[in-house]
Amino acid sequence: MIKTVGLTKIYRTDEVETTALSGVNVDIKEGEFVSVMGPSGCGKSTLLNVLGMIDSPDGGDYFFNGEEVGRLPERKRADIRKRNLGFVFQSFNLIDELTVYENVALPMFYTGAPAAERKQRVEELLEGMHIMHRRNHYPQQLSGGQQQRVAVARAIVNRPKLILADEPTGNLDSSNGDEVMKILAELNAQGTTILMVTHSQYCAEFGNRIIRMLDGQVVTENVVKQYL
């Protein structure tokens, strides 16, 4: 599903040049659950952003489903993104002015799904995440775990082929974190490919492969033995 060849990304400020990615090669098959680990500043979030097509690489090739997408214009990438990808962030990134229901439904507005389908799909997901009773609440009225469940629901509302999660449990206590990890694992079991950045070895092991990064490069890739 994803294949990168010599992916590089350099951040430039006025005087300083920081190499975030230098020649990263990753290969992710459909149905995999891949965890990315590494110390702060190793480039794992940058990798996630580039693979999520919200940032563009400075060099190398990025094939998504066999198509080179790294050099596509923003508009095209946005189009691929909204149909194929779902995002989960550490800080949830829910829109404060929208209710739970509206937050989850938002991606379907951008893909232009009909209202009836939207309603059915969103309600189905809210039921599944056990937050149906909170559908008319605003994000600030929810606990962290509930917010992240809303964010996950939003990420999968368009049935994406790939979910990109950036430290999804980083802002949660262990029991809420566990719950979110279980949801992700379940989605993976249903066939969704997942790429997750995490600091936690415990969370990483929910996946079936761990990529370790250091200074913008992939250091090791090991397969996780234990399955849930």
Binding site: E74, A78, N93, I95, L98, E102
Partner: protein, 819 residues
């Protein structure tokens, strides 16, 4: 999608109440100002346009510089209309109007009450051909043909007779003597007409016309309107008219002065009769003897500029606040972008938000505008209504809101939607968003506008104050004027004697002539019994009684006053200093003789046609006309002139004097209307235009400052918010509250200082130009600018410090933890 946008917009508004209030209220004030002023401008531009022939009508005016006086008159002579129609084939018709001032009018019958009618005009029978008003009763073509016929407006017909039908054929008694038969009723004239008439009286049989000279530019008392034939261009007619005019005035010069027009003009003196278009009269004509107060194109421009400025300031607030608030919207933008929103969709979202807010502002603005409309009408002296029923009005309004919304929303939309997705999600805003050169420029512009308005207001009020307090040469306080005193008939002297017995009355005088708008009369006097251009002085002639000087407080500097014991004083004159100078009576003027031609000059004049007057005194120059003009030559004569009684009362006695006056009046003339005014108020009214300008400048300056402060307040709060962390760190490191307030206020004060630099030359230039209208004027002193600058800085500082003090007092632990 759009629904989603509006939903977010509404929730954003609810969540940030202060911000929403600043934005919507500011914009509403801007739109309301703009709306009121544009309605005013539209009204001003519509004058006389109701007349379908407006483009084919011209009026004649006189421009005469002779005998030391320069006149520009809206009136010309009797022969001009007929001569032009005879000589120039382009003329379809002409109509003369003669304004004799107000009349006392009553219905025929015993003991009917007199009313004072202000809008009375004597008109040629062609009136309705040139001004095609709707006729309610009677025949437009013939109703003014017969002598002593009067045509009433519907409102006057109803006032006197109950209805238009009932008025027909009835008689009105004018000035308690002559009977006038109602031969027609017309619908009231539109308000946007440069003159108003409620009684039109036939000029047929008018003595002034019958006895008038046939010479041009000799006697000028009639407004003359000329209707051109269809297809005639103004320019070609104007050329023919000017040729005729020069020829006719040349004849006058030759006949009266024995000079050719060229020779007269070589002395710097001249007489011209010119043309002005009907549609130019209201906004471009500022002549003497206009039929009503006109507008001024200058004020239309000033008003329009102010309206646009206030709207622009409000738009700037909108843009500034929206961009300053971008930090709060950044996350939403990032999320939307990640979820697949394109930049276009985001621009669409912010635009629809802005438009939505502009729409809310419009509703508020309409409510505001209709609420202040009566008061605005008072301020402008107009009767403007909001045209609720006009589709055009709504169409323009919709366009206006769209344009305003786009104007205010475009910059924030493009700015916000241009954020880089990852950066905003990470909470890194571009440095641009924090500082913003454009935002600073906008604040400078706002405050420059406000400062200009403050300076203008101060200068206008200073000038008005100067006028009020200037030594005028007479004492304007504690004087009561009784109008229409002639209605007392022969009882007028008894009335005056009776009032002098009242302990509150110091003195009283009977004269139609006062140093406020009242009767005026002028003619040319000579130094010998012949007419020559070099021995003539144009003199204002005031007929006064023995008590005039004492009552008005005029100062005699040479000679003596009129004396009751000298019957010969009926041929005596007291001149003012200007007249003295123009006659060339430099030393020992007392006893000098001046002359004037008693009858209308018709041709060859004999020395015996001249009447002789002896100079017995010199009165110190006093301002008998407005301070816009120089003091011209004036002669005071002892003669009957019973239009007004003026009384000087003792301080604090005005109430009892007025009560006594009214009682006495009711006893002596029960059917005559009693009306009085104070001379100092009449004096102030001469500067109504300036007072209006002052009020308007004051109001808009306040609004501009208010709206600017709203913006500054919002901006300061966001700045303080953005620098929360910096403030926290500084406090931890030992900064004082005062130091932090200074730090946060410094930037804004710098901007206001810059605005002051920008505003000063602009305001100086504008006010310098405005003051040129006055011959007697103040100098613009530097302290005006210093004061305006200090005021602006103080206002800005108070506005900003409210936020910065709050930020400075906040607990640093809290602000640092929130990062």
């Amino acid at each position: 999608m759009f629904q989603n946008y509006i939903k977010i917009a509404i929730r954003n508004l609810q969540k940030n109440k202060a911000y929403s209030f600043i934005n919507i209220a500011g914009l509403a004030i801007g739109i309301a100002c703009c709306l009121l002023i544009l309605l005013f401008v539209a009204h001003e531009l519509s004058y006389d346009r109701w007349n379908p022939q407006a483009d084919r009508i011209v009026r004649t005016y006189a421009d005469i510089n002779f005998g030391g006086n320069h006149f520009q008159l809206a009136v010309t002579g009797v022969p001009i209309g007929p001569d032009v129609q005879r000589e120039i084939s382009d003329v379809q018709s002409y109509c003369r109007l003669r304004n004799y001032g107000s009349h006392l009018v009553r219905k025929e019958g015993e003991g009917t009450q007199n009313f004072r009618e202000e809008e009375v005009l004597y008109a040629d029978s062609t009136f309705f051909e040139i001004f095609p008003l709707a006729i309610a009763s009677g025949e437009a073509r013939t109703c003014l043909t017969k002598p002593n016929s009067v045509v009433l407006s519907r409102s006057r017909a109803e006032k006197y007779f109950g209805s238009a039908q009932a008025a027909m054929g009835q008689n009105l008694i004018v000035e308690n003597e002559s009977a006038w038969k109602v031969t027609g009723v017309f619908e009231d004239m539109p308000a946007n007409s440069h003159f108003q008439a409620h009684l039109l009286m036939s000029l047929n049989g008018n003595r002034e016309i019958m006895e008038a000279t046939q010479m041009w530019a000799m006697s000028n008392n009639f407004q003359t309107y000329i209707l051109l034939k269809e297809g005639t261009s103004f320019d070609t007619f104007s050329e023919k008219f000017n040729n005729l005019s020069r020829q006719k005035i040349g004849q006058t010069a030759a006949q009266m002065l024995g000079l050719s027009l060229e020779k007269l003009e070589a002395t710097g003196q001249y007489a011209r009769i010119g043309l002005q278009r009907l549609t130019d009269i209201h906004l471009h004509s500022d002549l003497d003897v206009e039929l009503g107060p006109n507008g001024d194109i200058q004020y239309v421009w000033i008003f329009s500029a102010i309206a646009l400025f206030v709207l622009f300031i409000a738009c700037i607030n909108f843009m500034n606040l929206a961009t300053a608030r971008s930090a709060h919207r950044a996350k939403e933008i990032g999320v939307r972008k990640v979820l697949g929103s394109t930049r276009g969709a985001l621009i669409g979202q912010f635009m629809s938000e802005t438009l939505f807010m502009a729409f809310l502002s419009l509703i508020l603005a309409l409510a505001l505008a209709s609420a202040v409309m009566p008061w605005f009408n008072e301020l402008t002296g107009r009767a403007i209504q909001i045209p609720w029923a006009s589709p055009m009005f709504w169409g323009l309004l919709a366009c206006g809101v769209l344009i305003t919304g786009f104007l205010a929303g475009s910059y924030p939309s493009f700015f916000l939607s241009g954020f880089e997705t990852i950066k905003v999600l990470k909470g890194q805003l571009s440095r641009k968003a924090k500082h913003g050169g454009l935002r600073s420029a906008l604040v400078v512009f706002q405050f420059a506008t406000a400062i200009v308005l403050i300076i203008c207001t101060t200068v206008v009020y200073n000038q008005l104050n100067y006028i009020q307090n200037k030594k005028l040469g007479f004492r304007k306080d504690q004087l009561i004027i009784i109008d229409d005193a002639y209605a007392l008939g022969d009882g007028i002297l008894a009335f005056k004697q009776e009032m002098l017995k009242h302990p509150g009355v110091e003195s009283a005088t009977i004269s139609s002539f006062l140093p406020v708008p009242s009767n005026r009369n002028n003619t040319t006097f000579t130094k010998s019994r012949e007419f020559r251009q070099d021995n003539s002085v144009n003199l204002d002639i005031w007929d006064v009684d023995h008590d005039y000087f004492k009552t008005l407080g005029l100062e005699l500097i040479e000679g003596r006053l009129f004396d009751k014991n000298r019957p010969a004083d009926s041929s005596a004159v007291i001149l003012n200093e200007t007249a003295l100078k123009n006659f060339g009576f430099t030393d020992n003027p007392i006893g000098k003789k001046i002359y004037y031609l008693e009858s209308e000059p018709k041709g060859d004049t004999k020395p015996s046609d001249f009447v002789e007057y002896t100079v017995i005194g010199v009165v110190k120059n006093f301002h008998f006309e407005s301070l816009r003009t120089h003091i011209s030559s004036l002669g005071l004569f002892l003669d009957d002139s019973r239009g007004l009684i003026t009384l000087r009362y003792k301080a604090g006695e005005s109430r009892s004097v007025i009560a006594a006056l009214e009682k006495q009046w009711k006893a002596m003339a029960p059917t005559q209307p009693f009306s009085y005014r104070f001379l100092d108020e009449a004096f102030s009214r001469m500067y109504q235009t300036e007072q209006r300008l002052g009020q308007i400048a004051l109001i808009f300056a306040s609004l501009a400052i208010f709206v600017s402060c709203l913006g500054l307040f919002g901006l300061a709060s966001f700045m303080a918010e953005q620098r929360t962390k910096e403030i926290g760190i500084r406090k931890v490191l030992g900064a004082t509250t005062a130091g932090i307030v200074g730090l946060l206020s410094k930037d804004f004060l710098l901007l206001v200082g810059f605005a002051l630099l920008l505003a000063t030359p602009l305001a100086w230039w504008g006010m310098h130009k405005w003051l040129q209208d006055f011959v007697y004027r103040i100098d613009i002193s530097a302290w005006v600018f210093v004061m305006a600058g200090l005021a602006a800085i103080a206002i800005a500082f108070i506005t900003v410090s409210f936020q910065s003090i709050r930020a400075a007092l906040a607990n640093p632990v809290k602000s640092l933890r929130s990062e």
